[in-house]
């Protein structure tokens, strides 16, 4: 417990330093450093969230937010970091939806950072209302998920060489925290043929 508290403080401190590093990089137009600083900070955010998820302390703070804003912010934030075409599509998005904005942003930012590594030319982030669900998807035109990931989607895989594991584990956990009238959020992976990561949240 003492180590956990110490680790939380260190993470906070490191994130502050990363924020300074990101600010300096942004000032001089150094997008590579900016990208790495943002990615590293994201990694720490997920690490802490993971710890909280395992100790039952990850509690969603659910309110009404605009999925279109979220998509726009993620795309705008990520675009300068890469040569890829990063597009957002919110044409079928609802005006507002209920979720924990910072948790959902964390999950999607992670999916987007993964897509940055595997995409060939383009990434598409979409938000759309489908029946009683909000679907938030990140699709790339890369090689797609390896078959073993698609074969056993429920398998919790916090550790993997690709680093996808902690993200996916957390994504499923966060999705399940979004519950309303007995319906729980879920994550689905698909190849179409590039990787499609989809987060579904109940009305």
């Amino acid at each position: 417990m003492r180590f956990a508290a110490l680790a939380a403080l260190s993470i906070h401190d490191v994130k502050n330093r990363l924020a300074l590093m990101a600010a300096r990089a942004e000032n001089r137009g150094d997008n590579e450093t900016l990208r790495d600083a943002l990615a590293a900070a994201g990694e720490l955010t997920r690490l802490l969230a993971c710890y909280k998820a395992e100790t039952g302390l990850l509690r969603p703070d659910i309110d009404a937010f605009s999925p279109a804003d979220l998509v726009k912010e993620l795309v705008t934030e990520t675009r300068p970091l890469s040569q890829l075409d990063i597009l957002g599509d919110s044409q079928l998005a609802p005006q507002s939806w209920f979720y924990d904005e910072s948790l959902i942003r964390m999950v999607l930012a992670n999916a987007l950072h993964n897509a940055l590594r595997f995409a060939r030319q383009r990434i598409l982030v979409t938000a759309r209302e489908s029946g009683d669900w909000l679907e938030l998807c990140v699709a790339d035109d890369g090689p797609g998920y390896p078959p073993e990931m698609l074969a056993n989607p429920a398998r919790p895989a916090p550790m993997s060489e690709e680093g996808v594991g902690i993200g996916l584990y957390l994504a499923r956990h966060v999705a399940a925290l979004h519950e309303n009238h007995g319906f729980r959020g879920e994550v689905s992976l698909d190849n179409a043929p590039g990787a499609v990561f989809c987060l579904k949240l109940p009305r």
Partner: protein, 539 residues
């Protein structure tokens, strides 16, 4: 959506203790075309800037160094109304987990921004939040003016439009219904919201409406369920502890506040609440530990409150360390000129000097405490002065103050208990019952006499008599409401009078504050309607 150009030329205030973060934020804002940017490195300078100037957007880091934080700053400036609802308050933090405690909506920032973020991300977020403020401008303006029925109507408009701000409008609507005393409507409304989706703010709103309606058992059940669903909502603990305290369950109240402190150890208001409960219980060890923390944390900060020093000093004196109390008060006066003549501190000093065996100094301090008319002071301060009078042998003065406290709250058994306790400890035990009875009877006689004059057609005399009594006993809802009614009746019969109308409205507001469910309020509203019908809208 409006573009940034619609939001240009906004005034920003950056509050951050780290110089590099301040300049980084400033250059991000500059890159977005914002040049009207003021900067603060701590709570003290931020408060000073907010006192002098108004800002459109405040970007505040959560950690401000020296043990202070952005949440404390926000609560302070909201409480003192240093910022209006149209000001955007954005809390910047590296980690949402640190700040994921929730409190009453008026003490929440408009948004959290997680570090690190790019200038582009900041731009989008500002646009979207400023759009929201623009959409809610009318609602916010009416809220600032406390014109609740108009707030409800403005919210209804947004809800009917079905746009993205409808949830925010629902939250404000519920709050406005409670603020204008429409509790049944508020309960039905929150239940309707909860049926669609369980949200902590709606559950808490339901609890507040139940509390206001006096449905304490239902309210307690709602709060327990809420604490189960959303343990980080601090306001739930605050309200639950208040119910427990009112029911005389001080141990339970303390336990509830302890739970809240575990979730938010830095929250000054909860430590203050613990001290208040502990003092009622006579547990001065806990008062000392809670307030030592608050006083140490707020030393030389605008978050400091003189009442903390007074209560801590009193606890020291009660614990047999009067010298410590005197030293604390001396130090406070040296550092803050405005404390020099503070009656609260003077009363505690009188008690401490008395306990330290220096009667002359005790008498001198007491006479300073009595310089202010006790009737115009908050009840806890008046009580403290009364106790000091009794302890130093000034029986008559002490009893007079206690009597006026009783007359301000003739029906409150809690106040009667405090008065009784003060007399038992410092004065003549057994005197309490007679004093309370005398006090209550005087008020009843005064009220009856006013009613008699009113019936006899001496409306002006009745109004004058009650106005005088209402000024003297501002906490007595019956007297104050009768004063408002008598003034309005006088106006209705004898024609409009600006001064009387002004007093009537002031008294009406006061009653609403004391007891939003007071039965006389409906009569007052009806009389106002008749006056408007008879003399037109201006009256």
């Amino acid at each position: 959506m409006a573009s940034l150009s619609a939001h240009e030329n906004k005034k920003f205030l950056i509050v951050d203790d780290m110089p590099e973060m301040r300049s980084s934020l400033r250059s991000q804002l500059a890159s977005l075309g914002h040049s009207r940017v003021a900067i603060s490195s701590n709570v003290k300078t931020a408060v000073a800037q907010l006192e002098q100037d108004s800002f459109d957007v405040i970007l505040c880091d959560y950690f401000l160094g020296d043990g202070s934080d952005g949440q404390q700053l926000l609560e302070h400036v909201r409480k003192r109304k240093l910022i209006s609802r149209s000001t955007l308050f954005i809390m910047i933090t590296a980690e949402k987990g640190y700040v994921s405690v929730m409190t009453a909506a008026e003490c929440l920032p408009d948004d959290y921004l997680l570090k690190p973020f790019t200038a582009d991300a900041l731009k989008l977020r500002l646009e979207s939040l400023l759009d929201k403020k623009a959409r809610l401008a009318k609602v916010d303006a009416m809220q600032d003016k406390e014109r609740w029925p108009e707030v409800v109507a403005a919210c209804d408009e947004i809800i009917a439009s079905g746009d993205r701000y409808q949830t925010e409008a629902r939250r404000i609507r519920g709050n406005a219904l409670i603020a204008c005393g429409r509790f049944d409507e508020a309960m039905a409304f929150y239940r309707q919201v909860l049926a669609i989706r369980v949200m902590p703010w709606a559950r808490f709103g339901l609890a507040r409406a139940q509390f206001a309606q006096g449905e304490l058992e239902a309210c307690t059940a709602t709060l327990r369920q809420l604490i189960e669903e959303a343990p980080q909502l601090l306001s739930a603990y605050d309200l639950l502890s208040q119910i427990q305290l009112d029911a005389g369950q001080t141990d339970d109240a303390l336990h509830t506040l302890d739970q809240a402190c575990e979730i938010a150890p830095e929250s000054l208001s909860r430590h203050r609440a613990i001290a208040r409960v502990a003092e009622k219980k006579g547990d001065f060890t806990r008062v000392e530990s809670a307030l030592t923390r608050v006083v140490t944390k707020t030393r030389n900060s605008p978050l400091r409150e003189t009442a903390d020093i007074a209560s801590l000093g009193n606890a020291h004196a009660e614990m047999g360390a009067p010298e410590k109390a005197i030293q604390l008060i001396d130090e406070a006066r040296k550092n803050f000129k405005s404390d020099a003549d503070d009656p609260h501190l003077a009363a505690v000093e009188a008690l401490a000097q008395h306990k330290a065996g220096r009667p002359e100094l005790a008498a001198a301090a007491l006479s300073r405490a009595l310089d202010t008319t006790p009737g115009s002071l908050p009840q806890d301060v008046a009580l403290r002065i009364a106790r000091a009078c009794l302890a130093t042998g000034q029986q008559d003065k002490g009893e007079a103050i206690l009597k006026s406290i009783v007359q301000n709250n003739p029906e409150s058994t809690a106040v009667h208990a405090q008065v009784t306790e003060a007399l038992n400890v410092h004065g003549t035990p057994g005197r309490a019952a007679a004093l309370i009875q005398e006090g209550v009877q005087e008020v009843v006689a005064l009220n009856n006499e006013a009613v008699r004059r009113g019936r006899a057609g001496e409306l002006g005399a009745a109004a004058e008599m009650l106005t005088e009594a209402a000024e003297r006993l501002p906490g007595n809802a019956q007297i104050v409401s009768n004063a408002a009614f008598a003034l309005l009746l006088d106006i209705y019969s004898n024609g409009p009078d600006t001064v009387k109308l002004h007093d009537a409205l002031r008294f009406q507001k006061r009653v609403t504050m004391l007891d939003a469910r007071h039965p006389k309020l409906a009569d007052i509203a009806e009389l106002q309607r008749r006056i408007r019908t008879k003399y037109g809208q201006t009256a």
